[in-house]
């Protein structure tokens, strides 16, 4: 089939006088693992719930597989959701939870049993099939919620902050599991998260939202390496932001020039701490003083104060072959590879 799997057309949501989502367009392709990333209150969950049919949009259309589903509720859509609190049925066993949807759909009982077993295998829950959700760990409950949604073979699986309730270690394990699951079944996943690390790790495409609008979308590398705004730069990963001026579509900084189309005026040059080098041969160089050096495990975190007082953070690998460091208080010259620099509005 041609065309996107999901198309949102000028979709928006307004509550009384508050606009949660401003009119926006979005297309999601088959097989995508898409992250809706943003701080709390940015409208990402509202957007997800409109895709799932739980909220009627104020304006716009939702199309799934080329069909207008705007007026349809979640029970009529070929989407399934993994809820933030999982929403497992507390009075049903794991197997009954997973079999609920197929049973409602009127599938053949023998087929349901096979499907349930297949799902239990997929999420490694065979051993607890007859337990009630209350007797499961958080990670197991999460997997039941996944299996319960996936057994419906949805065109799109929606996940609302799927890992937020898990502790760090479990979250990492579930990230791997989600990725493996996506690969195994080849489905289309859309998940909401406020955790940029999770988005970068899991998604092949990230949509960043701020105050009800999409501010940037692209591959994890795109949004990390080429942030389109100050907000994206600061929200996704750590960023150094150096004030500069744009004159004639160029920004002069540290003895070098960055091409930067746009009107003349104040701008910020954004560079990631791991892109800044101590390489004196770099075409863009900034002189400063090493103010602090901290050992962070896999890397060292240097703080360099420039002549104008701006502080620049530098991450350097802390492995055995790392070059020896200057001492605190010494003058250093920072190298900014032009390809790693982005210019954004202040």
């Amino acid at each position: 089939m041609s065309g996107p799997l999901l198309r949102l057309d000028t979709i928006s949501k307004t509550y009384r006088d508050v606009t949660a989502v401003h009119p926006l367009d979005l297309e999601v392709g088959r097989g995508d693992f898409l992250a809706l990333l943003g701080p709390s209150g940015c409208g990402k969950t509202t957007l997800l719930r409109m895709i799932g049919g739980f909220l009627p949009p104020t304006t716009g259309r939702v199309e799934i597989e080329g069909r207008d589903v705007t007026a349809l509720g979640p029970e009529k859509r070929n989407t399934n959701m993994v809820f933030q609190g999982y929403g497992l049925f507390p009075h049903m066993t794991v197997a009954q939870n997973i079999g609920y949807g197929p049973k409602i759909a009127g599938r053949d009982p023998e087929q349901i049993d096979l499907d349930v077993v297949r799902m239990l295998n997929l999420v490694h829950l065979n051993a607890v099939a007859d337990r009630l959700p209350a007797a499961l760990s958080g990670g197991q409950q999460q997997r039941v919620a996944l299996a319960r949604a996936l057994v419906m073979r949805p065109a799109i699986l929606l996940l609302d902050e799927p890992l937020a309730a898990l502790d760090l270690k479990l979250r990492k394990a579930m990230q791997d599991e989600l990725k493996a699951l996506h690969k195994a079944i080849g489905g289309t996943f859309i998940f909401v998260t406020h955790d940029q690390g999770e988005a970068i790790d899991l998604a092949n495409r990230i949509v960043i939202m701020e105050a009800g609008r999409i501010v940037q979308q692209g591959t994890p590398e795109d949004v990390y390496r080429r942030p389109a705004s100050r907000f994206v730069a600061s929200f996704v990963g750590d960023a150094n932001m150096l004030p500069a001026r744009r004159v004639g579509a160029e920004v002069a900084i540290g003895g070098g020039r960055l091409p930067a189309p746009g009107v003349d005026g104040d701008v910020l040059v954004v560079i990631r701490p791991d892109d800044v080098t101590l390489d004196a041969t770099c075409p863009i160089g900034l002189d400063g003083t090493l103010a602090e050096c901290r050992f962070m495990g896999p890397y060292q975190r240097l703080t360099v104060t420039l002549a104008d007082g701006t502080q620049v953070i530098v991450h350097r690998p802390s492995g055995a072959d790392a070059a020896p460091l200057p001492g605190v208080g010494d003058a250093v010259r920072l190298g900014l590879p032009p390809a790693a620099c982005s210019v954004v509005a202040p």
Binding site: E75, M81, G87, H91, Y100, I104
Partner: protein, 258 residues
Amino acid sequence: MPGRGNLLWTGFGVLALVFLLSPLALVVFFSFAENQNATFPAGGATLHWYGVLFDDPDFWKALGNSAIVTLTVGLVSMVVGTAAAMTLARTRPALANALIGVITLPIMLPPLVLALALATGYSSLGLPLGLGTVIPSHVVFTQPFVILVVHAQMASFNMAVVDSARDLGAGPWTIFRTVILPIIRPTLIGATLMAMAVSLDDFIITYFTIGGGMTLPTMIWGMLRKALDPSINALGALVLVATVGTSLIALRLTRYRG
């Protein structure tokens, strides 16, 4: 001196319990005692008074009426109360609280005023008094118990469960039947039994709205006015057993663990 303080409290507790329970114990005790006047010395043990009670055709009539009223009131309160509570749970909180205030008015009102109002209301509408007027009158003051209890449960209900069921293709009625009802069933049974207990031992409102008939409480009232026959004690003991039994069943069903 914790020892003495504890002793004082224990003594007070025992005294309070004796005060509360001894009349009940005496009712049961004298229902099995030979003494005609229900006084000490009690005389030997006998089932005579139960025989007297069971020979009284009024007892069977009152028992039947009480059974009809209690069961109907329980059923109607459960259905009406649950429907109201489910609707209230979906109403915005400010409005819901205002509505609950209005709905629970009947249990705030003095029963005498409510009874008078109902009796006046029926007579002005020209409705003949009887079980047909007792049942709706009871529902007026039993449904708030069901609404309050079920609404409290719905307030803490995990709505993600409802969303999940919808997401998996279930319609409103299927969701209620397969998800909401099984989860709130213990609460529902508890609330219904509470409504039935309140209905079973109501006297004032029944007395004002029943006209010529009788239920167990109004029968006791009638017997008291004639003579202090120990068969009253037998009736009292039976009502006690029925009420305590119902409560125990309710606690067992709702898996109440104290």
